[in-house]
Amino acid sequence: MIPYAFKYERAASLSEAERMIAQSAEAKLLAGGQTLVAAMKLRLARPSKLVDISGLKELRYIRVGNGSVSIGAATPHNEVATSADVVRAIPALAALAGLIGDPAVRHMGTIGGSVANNDPAADYPAAVLGLGASIVTTRRSIAADDFFKGMFETALADGEIIKEIVLPIPERAGYRKFPNPASRYALVGVFVAKTKSGVRVAVTGAAPCVFRVAAMETALRRSFAPEAIAQIVVSDEGMNSDIHASAEYRAHLVGVMARRAVADALR
């Protein structure tokens, strides 16, 4: 499979990447490329230019402090999955990163790329929304609740580059996904987090965009246990339906995965 022709440029710094990306409306950032290159091979994407930011050291780090974990946008999934700091601070996040794709994908794919792409079935958006994280860009800081806008749509403006994701450390959290057996993307994935201020439940894979389940959050705030949400029926309205699973089945899986995620969080 041969992609359309494009021009490749490797940025030596974040500011150079900003200049390079501003020069062409059809330019795209290349981080790990584990979604973009596959889309380009199938000729579903046709950027005129790729600005490679995967080598930028200034975007590759994991820092813990002030009650949160900050992860540089170009940090690959495998580094998050195996980071002793992440495993200690937010074990559910490390576990989630270890479930993305397969080992080769996790060596290349990055957190910034996954969040910017906002694939409806990607894992990271569930953690970012479930933890109430902030997405820090070259221009501002965006709350997760305001960031994910729709299928492959985010609040990012043209030429705006994600620098880091800041994830508050919860009291406890869990993530469960029912993976598509071929792609390992989530048919349904649920991230549950209990913090000082409340409970957040974020669902990926089920609908065109990651979303929260208010009824479950209210019930879990009263009692953080799988039984607390056993009676909650999630409507299948607006859910995805395809050859892999019907909307009705996905709605059912939201309940099952949420209960298992709560059980994991209590472990």
């Binding site: 359309y4 022709a5 490329g33 091979k41 397969d102 080992p103 080769a104």
Partner: protein, 158 residues
Amino acid sequence: MTAVSMTVNGKRVSADAEDRTLLVYFLREQLRLTGTHIGCDTSQCGACVVHVNGRAVKSCSMFAVQAEGADVLTIEGLARDGKLHPVQEAFRDNHGLQCGFCTPGMIMTAIDMIRRKPKLDRPTIRHELEGNICRCTGYHNIVSAIEDAAKRMSGGQA
């Protein structure tokens, strides 16, 4: 066309490639290293796995220009002085292949997982093999081969 230079199996190489040339085509067509296979169009099969700077990656999912200056290891770079790598040896001894098409990717993935996870049990090996598809074996002997290779490489068995 851009001149792309990298180290492949310990040798400095340089060849012209378009920016859109995938690393796997660069290896197979420019360098004639056809041991790295292409088994799908969707980045899912893992037949093309090579090591770039010591990490297993799918060479169909990155461009050759991204590997400028990198250290690349392919299946052709494993045997030394006519002697197979312990993982290759273990695949042969355990009958870890039938048609052999997926084998280069399986072996490169296996070496990477043994390096990252010195203690490998069978469920872990299966989880680690999620990105490598085999249509012949049912994986059983591949798992056995990797388990065996991990033991040999840790010195637990001669």
